[in-house]
């Protein structure tokens, strides 16, 4: 069990300073700190599983032919030993399926980065309005982005398409304004 260090002076803080009801001064730098410790801090880390050696005509792991298979992959069906079994969101997957799922964005819990196309479209429609001229180019771009990425995965924590709708409405108005303006100038000549 490692000690917890003060986040200011990085001095180790003894267990007597954990789970106090209020802020207390760090014994080293006297910065007011409060340390809320949970049972996981006191538990030893679980040791990893090892695959059992294959005996006689038992089924073997797809990736380790010398090891006994204990479970099939929930996605591809390959037999897996205890070492290859990756538990993720109550499913058992093989490392290859985890890697593929991560790359193709199929496993939501492994998503670490998402582009917010609705945010990009909205900003493309909104910010160039500061200098009107750029909207001639950015308004069609905003509409294209909104249509092209309407069904793309958006934020993990947001659900609505309101930004897309607002971006399209704003860009539409800009295009309408440009069309009207150009038509007016042409008709005056």
């Amino acid at each position: 069990m490692e000690e917890i260090s003060c986040t200011h002076c990085h001095a180790p803080i003894l267990a007597g300073y954990y789970n106090t009801s209020d802020l207390i001064p760090c014994p080293s730098c006297h910065a007011p700190v409060k340390i809320d410790v949970f049972p996981a801090f006191y538990h030893s880390p679980r040791s990893g599983k090892e695959g059992e050696t294959l005996i006689d005509d038992q089924a073997s792991c797809f990736y380790h032919p010398q090891k006994k298979a204990v479970i099939p992959c929930d996605h591809c069906g390959r037999f897996l030993c205890a070492l290859c079994d990756v538990e993720l969101s109550d499913k058992h997957l093989c490392p290859a399926c985890v890697e593929t799922g991560k790359k193709k964005g199929r496993i939501v819990n492994l998503d670490r980065h998402r582009v917010l196309y609705d945010g990009v479209a909205l900003r493309l429609a909104l910010f160039p309005m500061i200098t009107i001229w750029f909207t001639l180019i950015t308004a069609p771009m905003a509409i294209y982005l909104a249509i092209r990425h309407w069904k793309s995965p958006t934020s993990l924590v947001r659900r609505t398409k309101i930004r897309f709708i607002f971006a399209m409405a704003l860009a539409g108005l800009q295009i309408l304004a440009w069309t009207t303006g150009i038509a007016y100038l042409v008709s005056r000549r």
């Binding site: 809320d36 949970f38 996981a40 993990l156």
Partner: protein
């Protein structure tokens, strides 16, 4: 695979930028969301999001440390209000006075909002393999609320602490042991060394500030262009020394009070430059432009500005002298104490080494 099955998230209170220092220009806003079995940290820069998951079964501790950022901002905002009020009260043009009244009002609103939100803090979440900051928990009130929301969820997964694990020391003296000496910050493990700094640069900076304070006090009574020029040079010198001192005090054993005074001095320098700029603008507006052909002419006009000429100039000189004297004197005293403590701390180890050799 769980495909596109989305986890439902509940947003936790708090939102803030990921900070690199006192002033951070960061477009990334961080927030926390709670799911059934983990917390999701979201960094949103408007165009994309980055996610970090902390599973309840892995969370070992949450460390909350109060910081002075909120109090410092209150001080800065109060100074800005004072400067704006000086412009609003002492300037002659009505339009400019209205502008400064509006500016004072805006700063006052920021100050009230800052005070209402309460003290600032930094929160870190600790697992077996990492210690990560939670930038959204940047106010003590919010941090406490979030920890109380998360506690039952974590305890549902990990269970409660057993009486043996709750190592509360019944002896209060262990928690609040009186210090017989002022301990220096100790260098520690985990790759973050704290080096010793004697505070020489700090001492020089505060000495120059004190000197400038004395000079400005003299200028209040007997103004000359030469002495104003010398004061300008002194201001430039201690501005540079302050910046060097701020760099040097990073990850050193310089005491907290000296650090805060160094930052306060930098704040004072910024306010002084701002006041000087206000004076320059008002002087330009009221002076005859034909006599200011070059930069040197403008500088000469500024040097010739006497406190007896206008209440605004008198106010600026008085403010500058007072702050310089106070900061310089207090800073020098505190740095001297730190240097004495360093010397006495190193003397016992030298004595024991001498005895070992003998």
């Amino acid at each position: 695979m769980d495909g596109r099955a989305e986890t439902s998230y509940k947003r936790l209170p708090g939102r803030g930028p990921r900070r690199g220092g006192f002033i951070t220009v960061s477009f990334s806003r961080c927030s926390l969301y709670q799911a059934d079995d983990h917390i999701l940290g979201v960094d949103n820069n408007g165009f994309s999001e980055d996610y970090k998951r902390f599973y309840f079964s892995n969370i070992q501790a949450i460390i909350t440390r109060r910081t002075n950022r909120g109090a410092t901002w209150s001080l800065v905002l109060a100074l800005m209000i004072a400067c704006s009020l000086m412009g609003a009260l002492f300037l002659e043009k009505e339009a400019v006075r209205i502008f400064f009244w509006i500016l004072s009002g805006a700063f006052l609103v920021f100050l009230l909002v800052n005070a209402f939100r309460g003290p600032t803090c930094i929160c870190h979440i600790v697992t077996a393999v990492q210690e990560d900051q939670l930038p959204s928990l940047n106010r003590l009130r919010v941090a406490r609320k979030v920890i109380e929301i998360l506690r039952p969820a974590i305890e549902r997964v990990q269970g409660r602490l057993s009486p043996e694990e709750v190592n509360i020391d019944p002896n209060e003296e262990t928690l609040h042991a009186p210090r017989t000496t002022r301990p220096l910050r100790q260098p520690h493990a985990r790759g973050h060394g704290i080096r010793h700094d004697g505070g020489t640069i700090h001492m020089l900076a505060f000495a120059f500030i004190l000197l400038d304070g004395i000079l400005t006090g003299i200028l209040l009574l007997n103004h000359t262009a030469t002495m104003t020029g010398v004061s300008s040079v002194l201001t430039l010198i201690y501005s540079i020394l302050l910046i060097v001192a701020l760099v040097k005090q990073h990850e050193s054993d310089i005491p907290g009070t000296v650090r805060r005074m160094t930052w306060a001095s930098l704040g004072f320098v910024c306010v002084s430059y701002l006041l000087g700029y206000v004076l320059m603008v008002t002087t330009l507006m009221t002076s005859r432009l034909e006599i200011m052909v070059t930069q040197w002419d403008m500088y000469r006009v500024m040097l010739d500005l006497s406190p007896q000429d206008s209440p605004l100039v008198m106010g600026v000189y008085a403010f500058s002298a007072t702050c310089s004297l106070v900061l310089g004197a207090l800073g020098l005293v505190r740095v001297k104490r730190h240097r004495d403590d360093s010397a006495s701390a190193s003397r016992p180890s030298q004595d024991s080494e001498g005895e070992a050799r003998g």
